[in-house]
C-alpha cells in the first residue's frame, strides 16, 4: 500500500491503477501417432481385418492419432480476459486501498465436430453453446484494506475480500484417455458415440467473503500485543443437469434420458481469534530472552445440502431426494517459544516449544519436543578477518537440532461405521443399515522424528551476490503412512500403519546475482538448486515389505513408494508359435523372475532459474523463468494402453518392439526416470512515453507481453511428465492432456 503525503504530512492524492489483460492458450505439440496393423482374412473376402484377428494376414500398417485429427480432436484455442482496478491513499492517521478485478476464461476443450453432427442428427437441433465449449470460468473479486492509527501506541487494520467464481465443466476431459490409443471406425460412429456423456452440464458457483481486523497495541514498550479477529464465509453451489429426452443412439437398452438435476450447496462459516505477543526479558550476563506466546481459537460451522430430482419430463418417474448435514467444530491452539540472544550476533532458541491443541482428539496433549537452534552473524564479530570483510557484507551461520512428533488421529485408530442409504428392490429405503466406514488400526503409535539442519546465508560484493545454503537430515521413527489393504479382507481399502524408520536428507542452495547494475542496463539472475533423497532405513517389527500392486513397493533400503517392475531381459521372435515374422508380440518377450527397483516418484534434483533484465532505467524489463527436474519416475499408463490397442512399429528394432509389446505383462518399458527442462515464463514490459499515458489520463503506462509454458525439453515418451492423474500417489499418466501454452497482452495505467 502506498501512502502519499505532502511535505507538511497531509494526505496526498489518491493513487489509482488500471490493468487490462487479454490472453490466448492452446495445447502445445501433437500427440504421438499410433500404428495399427491391418490385413485380410486367410479365408478370403474383401473385408479388412485387424492383425490381431486369428485368421488375419497382415498387409498394411496405418498411422493414426485421433487427438491430432481435426474431425475428432476435442481441443481448440482458449482465451482469457481480465481487468483490475485499484486505488490507495491516505495519510499518517488513516491509509486505505481498494482493489477490484474481473476475469472471463474459456478453456481449450471443444465438442468434436463429428459429435456435434451426431447431436444434430438425434436431437434435431445444434448443440447449445455450453455443450460446444464446456469449460468456462468467470471470476470477480474486490478487496479493501484500511489502517488507522488509533494512538501512538495502537493501530487498527481491517482487511476484507469478496470473491465470486462461476465455473462450468464437462466430462470431455476424459476424452484424451478414451481417444489417445483408439482406432476410429467411421461406420461405428453413426451409432456409437466418440465420447460418452458430454451432454451433462456441471456448474459450480462459489462466493467467498473474508474480513479481519487486527489490532497492534503496545501498552508498554516491552509488551507488543497483536490481536486478530476474522470471519470467513464460503458458499458453494454445484449443479449437474442432464437434459431430458437425450438419446444419442448410445445403446439400445438406454432409454431416452429421463432428465436429472442435482444440486449441492455447502456453506462454511469460520470465525477466528488470535492473540500473540513477544515479550523481552533481560537475563544475566547481558543476554536477552524474547518469548513468543500465541493463542488461536477457530470455530467452524458447516452446512451441506443435497437435492436431486429426476424424471423432470416424465411425471410417472418423478422423484425428489433431499439431504442436509451440519457440523460444528471449535479448536484451540497455542504456543510458547522463547528465543535467547546471547549478544547481538548470536541467537539461541533453546528448543522449548509447547504446542497444544484440540484438532483431532478428545483430549489435547502437550507435545513437548526438545529443539535447539543457533544463529550466528559471524560477519559482525570483531575477529571476523579483514580480507573477508571486503567480500562479505553479511555472513550468518545457522544450525538446528530438534525432535518433533505426530500423534495419530483418533479416527485413525478406531473402526468406524456409518448408516448408508440402501434402496430395496421394492424401491423403499431399508431402515437401520449400518455400514463399515473405516477399518482403523488399534496398534497405531505416535510418530517421532529427529532433524538436524545447518546452513549459512551470505551477501557478498556490495550485496550484488547473495547465497543461502541449507542442508538437512530428518529421520522419522514409526513413520505413519497410508497403505492399502488387500481385497481378500472385506474387499480391501486403506488404513494408516507405522511403517518404520524413514530418512529424508538433502540440501537447498539459492544464489542471487546482480550481474549488472546501471541505469542503462541491469541484469539479475536468481538460481535455486535442491536435492532430496528418501530411504526406508528399516521396517517396524510388525511390518513386512509391501507390494502395493500398482508398481510401487515399500522395501527397506529403498525410497518409500518406489517403482518396481519385472524387467524385460530378452525376446525371441517365434518363441511360442514358431513364426519368425520380425514382429515381437507379448508372448515373445522374456521377463526377469523378480521385480527390480526403477526409481522414486519425487525428483532427485530440482533447479529453477529466474532472470530479469532492465533496459533504459528499467523502462523496458524482460523476465524469464526456467525449471529443471531430474530423477522422478513416471508411469506412462496412457502410452501403455495405446500400445495395447495399437500395433507397434514393425520396422523398429526388436528391443524397442519388446519394450512396447511387454506393456501388457509388465510396466517396465512404460516407467521412465524423466528429466525435464521447461521454459516456464517470459515477459516483456515496456514503460510507454508520458504522452501516451496522459492520453488516458494517467501518469504511467506499461504494456506487457507475457507467455507461460513456452517450451519443454524432456526424455519422457509421453506428452508432459508433470501432468498426472495421481500426484503423491505415484506419478501416473492416464492420459491427462499437457499444460496449455498461454500468451497474453496487458496494459497497466496509473497515476
Amino acid at each position: 500500500m502506498i501512502v502519499i503525503t505532502t511535505k507538511k504530512g497531509r494526505p496526498g492524492p489518491t493513487h489509482w491503477q488500471v490493468a487490462l489483460n487479454q490472453g490466448i492458450s492452446k495445447l502445445p505439440g501433437a500427440f504421438p501417432t499410433n500404428l495399427f496393423r491391418w490385413g485380410h482374412s486367410k479365408f478370403g473376402g474383401s473385408t479388412r481385418c485387424p492383425r490381431t484377428q486369428y485368421d488375419c494376414i497382415q498387409d498394411s500398417v496405418v498411422a493414426f492419432q485421433a487427438l491430432n485429427d481435426p474431425r475428432y480432436t476435442p481441443f481448440a484455442h482458449g482465451n482469457r480476459s481480465d481487468v483490475t482496478l485499484s486505488a490507495s491513499g491516505g495519510g499518517e492517521q488513516l491509509q486505505f486501498s481498494f482493489t477490484g478485478s474481473a476475469s472471463q476464461e474459456r478453456g481449450i476443450l471443444r465438442l468434436p465436430d463429428i459429435e456435434a453432427e451426431r447431436f444434430r442428427k438425434f436431437v434435431g437441433s445444434a448443440p447449445p453453446s455450453w455443450m460446444r465449449r464446456p469449460e468456462q470460468l468467470t471470476t470477480w473479486s474486490g478487496s479493501s484494506q484500511i489502517t488507522a492509527a488509533l494512538s501512538p501506541k495502537a493501530t487498527l487494520s481491517v482487511v476484507s475480500t469478496l470473491t465470486s467464481q462461476n465455473q462450468q465443466q464437462s466430462s470431455l476431459q476424459s476424452a484424451i484417455s478414451a481417444l489417445e490409443g483408439r482406432w476410429i471406425d467411421q461406420t461405428e460412429l453413426s451409432f456409437v458415440p466418440l465420447i460418452p456423456d458430454f451432454f451433462e452440464r456441471v456448474t459450480a458457483k462459489a462466493l467467498d467473503f473474508t474480513t479481519s481486523a487486527s489490532l497492534n497495541w503496545r501498552p508498554w514498550e516491552w509488551l507488543p500485543l497483536t490481536a486478530i479477529v476474522g470471519v470467513s464465509l464460503d458458499n458453494r453451489d454445484d449443479r449437474a443437469l442432464l437434459p431430458a429426452r437425450v438419446n444419442l443412439g448410445i445403446h439400445e437398452s438406454t432409454n431416452d434420458t429421463l432428465g436429472h438435476l442435482g444440486i449441492g450447496n455447502t456453506r462454511v462459516l469460520t470465525r477466528t481469534a488470535n492473540i500473540s505477543t513477544s515479550i523481552p526479558t533481560r537475563l544475566p550476563l547481558g543476554m536477552q530472552m524474547r518469548t513468543a506466546i500465541g493463542m488461536n481459537l477457530t470455530a467452524t460451522a458447516a452446512t451441506a445440502q443435497r437435492a436431486s430430482t429426476f424424471g423432470v419430463d416424465d411425471p410417472s418417474v418423478f422423484d425428489q431426494q433431499f439431504t442436509q448435514s451440519t457440523s460444528n467444530t471449535t479448536t484451540l491452539g497455542w504456543f510458547l517459544a522463547p528465543t535467547i540472544a546471547i549478544n547481538s550476533r548470536l541467537y539461541v532458541q533453546p528448543g522449548f516449544r509447547l504446542d497444544g491443541g484440540s484438532t483431532s482428539g478428545t483430549r489435547a496433549t502437550f507435545n513437548g519436543f526438545p529443539k535447539l537452534s543457533l544463529s550466528w552473524v559471524a560477519s559482525e564479530e570483531k575477529f571476523f578477518p579483514s580480507p573477508f570483510r571486503a567480500v562479505f557484507n553479511t555472513l550468518r551461520l545457522r544450525a538446528a537440532y530438534g525432535h518433533a512428533g505426530v500423534q495419530p488421529g483418533l479416527i485413525d485408530r478406531l473402526r468406524l461405521y456409518n448408516q448408508p442409504i440402501v434402496i430395496g428392490a421394492d424401491g423403499d429405503t431399508v431402515r437401520g443399515v449400518v455400514g463399515l466406514q473405516a477399518y482403523g488400526n488399534t496398534k497405531l503409535r505416535p510418530e517421532r522424528s529427529t532433524e538436524l539442519e545447518g546452513g549459512f546465508d551470505a551477501d557478498l560484493f556490495d550485496n550484488r551476490i547473495s547465497i543461502a545454503y541449507s542442508g538437512y537430515r530428518r529421520v522419522q521413527r514409526d513413520a505413519i503412512i497410508d497403505v492399502p489393504i488387500a481385497p481378500s479382507v472385506n474387499g480391501g481399502g486403506t488404513r494408516k500403519v507405522n511403517i518404520g524408520e524413514v530418512r529424508n536428507q538433502g540440501f537447498d542452495v539459492t544464489l542471487g546475482i546482480e550481474a549488472l547494475r546501471s541505469a542503462a542496463l541491469s541484469w539479475r539472475v536468481d538460481v535455486n538448486f535442491s536435492t532430496n533423497t528418501n530411504k526406508l532405513l528399516k521396517l517396524a517389527a510388525d511390518q513386512t515389505p509391501i507390494d502395493l500392486a500398482d508398481g510401487r513397493r515399500i522395501v527397506p533400503g529403498y525410497p518409500l513408494f518406489g517403482q518396481w517392475a519385472r524387467p524385460v531381459v530378452g525376446w525371441a521372435d517365434g518363441l511360442h508359435d514358431g513364426i519368425q515374422d520380425g514382429i515381437i508380440d507379448s508372448t515373445e518377450v522374456i521377463l526377469g523372475d523378480s521385480a527390480v527397483y526403477l526409481g522414486w516418484e519425487q525428483p532427485r534434483y530440482h533447479a529453477s532459474l529466474f532472470t530479469t533484465i532492465g533496459l533504459f532505467s528499467n523502462r523496458v524489463t524482460v523476465n524469464a523463468g526456467f525449471d529443471y527436474q531430474d530423477g522422478a519416475t513416471q508411469f506412462n499408463q496412457a502410452g501403455g494402453e495405446a500400445f495395447l490397442t495399437a500395433a507397434n512399429d514393425a520396422h523398429a528394432s526388436p528391443a524397442t518392439q519388446a519394450a512396447v509389446a511387454a506393456a501388457g505383462v509388465t510396466p517396465f518399458g512404460l516407467i521412465q526416470t524423466v528429466n525435464t527442462l521447461r521454459f516456464n515464463s517470459l515477459s516483456v514490459s515496456v514503460a510507454m512515453p508520458a504522452g501516451a499515458a496522459r492520453a488516458f489520463g494517467a501518469r504511467s503506462m506499461f504494456v506487457t507481453v507475457q507467455g507461460s509454458n513456452l517450451g519443454l525439453h524432456t526424455n519422457y515418451r509421453g506428452l508432459d511428465p508433470n501432468v498426472n492423474a495421481f500426484v503423491g500417489d505415484g506419478n501416473v499418466d492416464t492420459g491427462q492432456f499437457p499444460q496449455p501454452r498461454t500468451w497474453s497482452l496487458g496494459v497497466r495505467l496509473g497515476n
Partner: protein, 467 residues
C-alpha cells in the same frame, strides 16, 4: 517528610527491576492460562464422524446384519451375470472395437498381470464383492453374538451361509490360490496365504456346518446350508456325500429374494443389470441353445437389436422388472441327487430328472404342454435315456444348465466337466472366431486373482489356471 527509597537501589533501577518482574509475572500468568486452556476444549470425535460405540447396541448389530445380507444378495446377482459371460450364458450385445478386449470374461482372455488391471476385465469387481461379503458377514456375526444375543441365532446362521456361498463362487470363478483372509471383529485383520480350489470348497462346507448349527431353529436356514454343503461336495467330486447332504431338502424349498433388474442410477437413468449383454445361443460352437430352444425355463424376449451385428438382443423373461433371484432350492437338491445316482450307475437319475420336469411318466401319452413336475414349470415332457455314458452326462448337465440358468451355477459346472468328467475344453467352452475384440476366444477357464491382492504379503499369485 522523609522519602522512602530502597536502600541499595536507585529509583531508576527499581523501576527497571519492577518492569522485569512484571514481565516475568506476565509470562507466568500467560503460561498458566494456556495450561488451563488445555482442558477448555475436549470435543468429541471430529464432526461428521459417528462415535463407533453408538453402534455397539442390539440395533447396531441388526444394522450390520442388514448391511451384510444386502451385500450378499447383490453380490450373488452380480456374480451370476459376470460368471454367465464366461460360461456362455450371456454374450456382449454389441461388437467391441477391433483390437481391444471388450469384455475379458466374454472373450476368455484373463491374463494374470502384476499391476493395474487387464483391459476390459470385470472380474476384479466380482472378487472384491465376494470378499466383501465374507468380511461384512464376519463383522455382523461378531456384533450379533456380542450385542444381540437374544436375537434368533438363525440370523448368524444365515450370515455363515452367505459366507459359504461367496466362497463357492470365488472357487468356481477364480484360479486356485484364493486367500481367505479374515476381518477380525473388534480387532484388526489377518492375512492368509492362498488356498487351493479344493481347500476353499472345504472351508465353505465348514461354514455351512456352522450355519446349520446356528440356524437349527429355522428350516429355511438349515435347508439353505444343506444345499450349500451339497453344492460344495459336488464341486469336490464327492457325489454320494453331496446327495446325502441334499436328501432332506424339500422339493419346494427356495431361498430367493427380490431383485430390481433395472434400478435407477444416480442420474436417473435406468441401468439394467443385464445392460450390454444378450442371452446366448450356441455360443462358440459348444454353447447351449438358451435363446432358441423355446425351453420354458429359459424363456427370453427381445429387448432390442444390436447396432453392430443386427442380431436380436435377448433378455430372460424371468429377469424383467422386480423378480425373485434363487440362490438355492429343492430343484438344485434333486439335480445333485440325480448326478450322484448317475455316477453310481443308478437308473434313478433319469427318474429324478423327469420328476422335476413333469408328472407324466410316458412321453407318448403326455399332454401338450406337459403338466409341471416338482420344478413347477409346465411344458417339459419326460426325457428318454440317451443310451451312452457321455450322452447321459450331457443330458444331466443340460438339465442343470436350464434349471439353474443364470443363477451362477454354470461356470462351476463347466469347470467340473473338464476337471471331473475329463471333457476336452473345446467341447465345453466357446472357441473359435470372436467378432471384434482380439478376434478369437482365448483359452482361459478361470479368472485370475486381481493384482491388488499382492498387497497381502502371503499371496503368491495363482497356483495354477487349471479347471
Amino acid at each position: 517528610m522523609r522519602t522512602m527509597t530502597t536502600p541499595h537501589l536507585s529509583p531508576r533501577g527499581a523501576r527497571a527491576r519492577m518492569a522485569n518482574a512484571a514481565r516475568g509475572a506476565a509470562l507466568v500468568a500467560l503460561a498458566g492460562m494456556l495450561t488451563a486452556c488445555h482442558d477448555l476444549l475436549n470435543p468429541p470425535l471430529p464432526a461428521g464422524t459417528e462415535d463407533p460405540s453408538t453402534f455397539n447396541t442390539e440395533a447396531g448389530a441388526l444394522g450390520r446384519y442388514l448391511n451384510a445380507i444386502e451385500a450378499a444378495h447383490s453380490g450373488h446377482v452380480f456374480y451370476a451375470v459376470a460368471s454367465g459371460k464366461l460360461a456362455a450364458e450371456l454374450h456382449l450385445a454389441e461388437t467391441p472395437a477391433n483390437g481391444v478386449v471388450g469384455d475379458a470374461l466374454d472373450e476368455r482372455i484373463l491374463p494374470e498381470i502384476a499391476t493395474g488391471s487387464a483391459p476390459g476385465d470385470p472380474s476384479p469387481s466380482s472378487y472384491v464383492t465376494l470378499q466383501r461379503v465374507r468380511g461384512l458377514a464376519a463383522e455382523a456375526i461378531g456384533a450379533l453374538a456380542k450385542y444381540a444375543p437374544a436375537k434368533p441365532a438363525a440370523l448368524r446362521g444365515e450370515l455363515y451361509a452367505m459366507q459359504g456361498f461367496a466362497e463357492i463362487e470365488l472357487a468356481d470363478l477364480f484360479c486356485s490360490g484364493i486367500p481367505l483372509s479374515t476381518l477380525d471383529f473388534e480387532g484388526d485383520f489377518t492375512y492368509h496365504a492362498g488356498s487351493t480350489t479344493s481347500e476353499v470348497y472345504q472351508h465353505a462346507i465348514a461354514l455351512f456346518d456352522t450355519a446349520r448349527t446356528f440356524g437349527a431353529d429355522s428350516a429355511r436356514i438349515v435347508n439353505l446350508a444343506r444345499v450349500g454343503t451339497a453344492r460344495a461336495l459336488l464341486d469336490l467330486g464327492q457325489y454320494a456325500e453331496a446327495a446325502q447332504a441334499a436328501a432332506d431338502v424339500p422339493d419346494d424349498f427356495r431361498y430367493d429374494y427380490f431383485v430390481d433388474w433395472a434400478p435407477l442410477n444416480g442420474v436417473a437413468v435406468e441401468v439394467p443389470i443385464l445392460d450390454g449383454v444378450t442371452v446366448t445361443n450356441a455360443e462358440g460352437g459348444s454353447g447351449l441353445d438358451y435363446g432358441t430352444s423355446s425351453d420354458p425355463r429359459t424363456l427370453v424376449h427381445q429387448r432390442g437389436t444390436s447396432q453392430t451385428t443386427g442380431e436380436s438382443i435377448l433378455e430372460p423373461a424371468a429377469y424383467v422388472g422386480v423378480t425373485p433371484f434363487t440362490l438355492a432350492s429343492g430343484v438344485e437338491a434333486r439335480l445333485i441327487e440325480a448326478e450322484a445316482a448317475l455316477n453310481a450307475n443308478d437308473p434313478s437319475w433319469l427318474i429324478t430328472l423327469n420328476a422335476l420336469r413333469t408328472t407324466c411318466t410316458d412321453a407318448a401319452s403326455c399332454p401338450d404342454p406337459a403338466p409341471p413336475g416338482l420344478g413347477g414349470v409346465a411344458g417339459l415332457p419326460p426325457l428318454g435315456d440317451p443310451g451312452t455314458p457321455n450322452a447321459r452326462v450331457d443330458l444331466l448337465f443340460r438339465e442343470r444348465a436350464f434349471w439353474l440358468f443364470l443363477t451362477g451355477h454354470r461356470q462351476g459346472d463347466m469347470r467340473r466337466l473338464l476337471r471331473q468328467y475329463r471333457r476336452p475344453q473345446n467341447q465345453v467352452y466357446p472357441t473359435g472366431a470372436y467378432r471384434g475384440g482380439l478376434g478369437a476366444y482365448g483359452s482361459d477357464v478361470t479368472a485370475a486373482i486381481p493384482p491388488a491382492e499382492r498387497v497381502n504379503p502371503l499371496f503368491t499369485g495363482c497356483f495354477n489356471r487349471n479347471p
